[in-house]
């Protein structure tokens, strides 16, 4: 039978699937169908149940009620990734790699190439190298995962999924941590897989990507199925509206110009540290400064150095004109400078704890009264955080690791803001966050700046940088290659600096 004949046949389907965790219901009678050779996008707000549905479709969760059909036949999918043997492969939203092991070991984990019980390491390494070359990844099969950047890790996940002979490939926010260039390469592979008849489900909060790559889109809201439509029948606005359930105004708030004479709150001069080279820049009061660049260009390193997380080799940092070389995060925090990590799983949140201890962890000294922690104040802070950042957890006692990705990100933001900083550095602020909340976060950032705080936004999402920043510094290989102002802030300029094609000599 040819592919064309059977395109209408559903390869994988969920019928009236519901799911609850304990007493908390998160999916309500959702139906979903996947055709052979299609790319089917799953979109919805944070906590809508996308990840949960994907896990059910790959056997990692069992539905509380409803049925799963594979090739039209009812089936109970085996647990723990064993449905790979049925050709169903899942990439988790949370990175799912063994950190101490190598790229090759991770990619082949669970289906190693062996002969007579021995590993064919050479063959496997060669195969991995092949895939890495196809995706243009500059890493070695023998690199250990813990030494990779988070985007590289995501690419490894993608390689891992692609290297398996999948009939159904399910990817939960695969592009959340990728730059556009990487996304581009990735989509090429998706296209190739699609041509060979693989059915693909993927979720994303980047609606333009959805528009670009998906054949059909299923929209979910609050654990319910809302609609399944052909992509060409949907505009970006329509998608957003269906997701959020109301009309969205403009995504980016208007930029208030920064006062020309605004005082300089942070000045960095000739900063050198591991993987960064002679960094100098200034940040004004009330300013939103963007940091753009390719993955691994050293943006994170700059601010980890400033915040006392990375040893400074040379150079000066001035906070409000005072020389400030912090050796610990606590010093930076007390001086009103905080950094929000891009790696929320490794550095951001205690996944095994509940929300409240996570929220107050950074600002905890503030909650001490009579030598003990004031639990009431903590509770009030929790309520405030939930309100301010619209954190949606159906069960307030849920452990953070069980929250949806986007809500974790919101909690992380709330945690950072608990310390009432004067300068906030936000690394990838909207990673994995839905459009509705994105808008809230942008408004929030703008409001902070308007209140006289200064914000640094490190982001790999060009529109975001362009949409909210007053000025943009672009980095390339550990150096700042340019600082853009006003109308210079546009995609082609940034890309040119980010690729190292242009460089302007800074003068202080």
């Amino acid at each position: 039978m040819s592919v064309a004949e059977k395109t209408d046949a559903y390869i994988l389907a969920a019928e009236r699937v519901s799911k609850s965790f304990g007493e908390v219901a998160v999916l309500f009678s959702v139906s979903f169908e996947l055709r052979k050779g299609e790319v089917h996008a799953l979109i919805g707000e944070n906590g809508a149940g996308k990840s949960t549905l994907m896990k059910i479709l790959s056997g990692l969760h069992t539905a509380t009620s409803g049925t799963i059909k594979l090739d039209g036949e009812e089936i109970v999918l085996p647990p723990y990734g064993q449905s790979e043997s049925l050709g169903i492969v899942l990439i988790h939203q949370e990175l799912n790699l063994a950190e101490q092991m190598t790229v090759e070991e991770n990619i082949f984990l669970g289906r190693e190439d062996t002969s007579k019980g021995f590993l064919n390491r050479k063959t496997m390494i060669a195969k991995v190298q092949e895939y890495l070359d196809i995706l243009g990844l500059d890493i070695s099969p023998n690199d250990r995962i813990r030494d990779l950047s988070i985007a590289q890790k995501q690419m490894v996940e993608i390689v891992k999924a692609m290297s398996r002979d999948a009939r159904v490939l399910i990817m939960d926010e695969p592009t959340a941590v990728l730059t556009e260039a990487e996304t581009e390469l990735f989509f090429k592979q998706v296209e190739r897989l699609k041509q060979s008849g693989v059915a693909i489900i993927f979720s994303s909060h980047k609606l333009s990507e959805v528009k670009k790559i998906a054949d059909r889109v299923t929209i979910m809201r609050d654990g319910q199925w809302i609609a399944t439509k052909k992509t060409e029948d949907l505009t970006l606005d329509a998608m957003a509206q269906l997701m959020v359930g109301r009309e969205l105004s403009k995504l980016y708030p208007p930029k208030n110009e920064v006062d020309v004479d605004a005082e300089i709150v942070l000045e960095v001069k000739n900063l050198n540290a591991d993987s960064i080279d002679n960094i100098s820049f200034k940040l004004k009061k009330g300013e939103i400064l963007g940091f753009s660049g390719l993955v691994g260009s050293g943006r994170t390193a700059v601010f980890e150095a400033i915040c006392g997380l990375l040893r400074i080799e040379s150079g000066e940092v001035y906070l409000n004109g005072k020389p400030s070389q912090f050796t610990s995060v606590a010093q930076a925090r007390d001086a009103g400078l905080v950094y929000l990590t891009k790696d929320r799983k490794e550095n951001g949140l205690l996944l095994t704890q509940k929300m409240q201890p996570n929220l107050t962890l950074l600002a905890l000294p503030k909650f001490v009264k009579n030598m003990t922690i004031d639990k009431r104040a903590e509770k009030i802070a929790m309520a405030r955080g939930v309100r301010r950042f619209d954190i949606r957890a159906r069960d307030p006692n849920v452990i953070v690791g069980d929250m949806s990705g986007g809500n974790q990100q919101k909690l992380l933001l709330a945690k950072i803001m608990e310390s009432n900083p004067k300068i906030v550095i936000i690394d990838e602020p909207t990673r994995g966050i839905d459009v509705g909340t994105k808008q809230q976060i942008y408004n929030f950032i703008a409001a902070l700046a308007a209140d006289g705080m200064s914000v640094v936004v490190i982001s790999s999402e060009m529109p975001e940088i362009i949409g909210i920043c007053h000025r943009v510094a672009v980095m390339y290989r550990g150096k700042i290659t340019g600082v853009l102002n006003g109308t210079e802030i546009n995609e082609s300029e940034i890309v040119r600096y980010a690729a190292g094609l242009r460089e302007i000599q800074q003068n202080g």
Partner: protein, 341 residues
């Protein structure tokens, strides 16, 4: 219809209550109660005043040490040196008091000097463990395995292989710390209670306790959350050392001696008490109340075995091992089915 709702509400309430009354946290208490019932049925003297007092007093040593161990383990560490540390501190304390005797007489001063030195030594020994673990970046297991050997051999050295004995004249002054009572409870039990309450407050109500938990859950998150990881970890070892010193202070007046066999295997008992109590060995979750119950369980097992001759003496270890495994299994096994993550 209305009735139905009531029923649902009721069943929810029951359910909620059942959840609160969770085997996982009640496990140690239930295990202890079962043990007491067994003990009583073997011999009614088990619940006699005298025996209960003996039991509590004995639990005090391991219990106090285990309270310290709860901090270390909650913050993701481990301390294998506590038994040897207790031995060497006892030994030094005895030597110091015997010396001080000449200058300060048999009065309370000498005892106070001894206790003071004990605390200084405990803090110092804890600091050494903490320093080597954090600044030396050596696994706690290895550091404390090393110091365990070192302290043990030092006490043998000081005692010349034998026993260091407290001067008999001092025993009358110092003895009441162990043998005395206050409001019907022996002093060591009061100390145990005090240490437990302080420990509970410290772990559950203060910055420090919260930081321990955070470090045990994820060190790097703790670091990014402005926690001075090395310092807090070092403090946990210092607290452990302090607890050992406290235990030593009430141990020494009991028999007034220390030797190479003092405190052998206390480290494993303390760790067992902590884990039986529900604290997670990998860190990130600690329970002081559980630890105290764990210490009581361990002492009770030994006590019960002394109360019966049903079981060959040689099989004491077997019973202990079995009970420990069962007690932990009661807590850890999946009681509620269904959560098929």
């Amino acid at each position: 219809m209305v009735e139905d709702n009531v029923n649902v509400a009721e069943s929810r309430a029951v359910h909620k209550w059942l959840r609160k009354f969770d085997l996982k946290t009640m496990g140690p208490a239930i295990a202890l109660i079962i043990l007491c019932i067994i003990g009583y049925s073997l011999n009614t003297a088990f619940l006699s005043d005298g025996n209960i007092t003996n039991l509590l007093t004995r639990s005090a040593f391991i219990g106090i040490i285990a309270v310290g161990a709860t901090f270390v383990i909650t913050a993701g560490g481990i301390d294998l040196s506590v038994g040897s540390m207790a031995a060497v501190i006892s030994g030094l304390m005895i030597m110091i008091m015997n010396n001080a005797l000449e200058t300060f007489g048999t009065g309370i001063t000498t005892v106070l000097i001894g206790c003071g030195c004990s605390i200084i030594l405990g803090v110092g020994a804890g600091w050494v463990n903490g320093f080597l673990t954090t600044k030396g970046k050596i696994e706690a297991f290895i550091v404390t395995l090393g110091t365990m050997g070192i302290y043990r051999s030092l006490v043998t050295y000081f005692a010349d292989g034998g026993t260091l004995s407290l001067d008999f004249d001092l025993r009358d002054t110092y003895g009441p710390i162990y043998y005395g009572s206050f409001l019907g409870l022996p002093i060591p039990v009061w100390v145990f209670i005090a240490v437990s309450i302080l420990g509970w407050i410290l772990l559950n109500r203060t910055l420090f306790g919260r930081y321990c938990t955070a470090i045990g859950s994820n060190e790097s998150v703790a670091k990014y959350s402005a926690i001075n990881v090395d310092r807090i970890k070092t403090y946990t070892y210092i607290i452990q050392g302090l607890c050992v010193a406290m235990a030593t202070i009430i141990y020494v007046p009991r028999l007034g001696s220390a030797s190479a066999s003092t405190g052998v295997l206390w480290e494993l008992e303390a760790i067992a008490a902590v884990i039986i109590g529900g604290t997670v060995l990998k860190g990130g979750y600690g329970r002081i109340v559980g630890t105290i119950l764990g210490a009581l369980i361990l002492t009770t097992i030994g006590n019960i075995l002394n109360f019966t001759d049903l079981i060959s003496n040689y099989l004491n270890g077997t019973m202990q091992g079995l009970i420990i495994i069962v007690a932990v299994w009661l807590q850890r096994a999946d009681w509620k089915k269904g959560s098929n993550k």
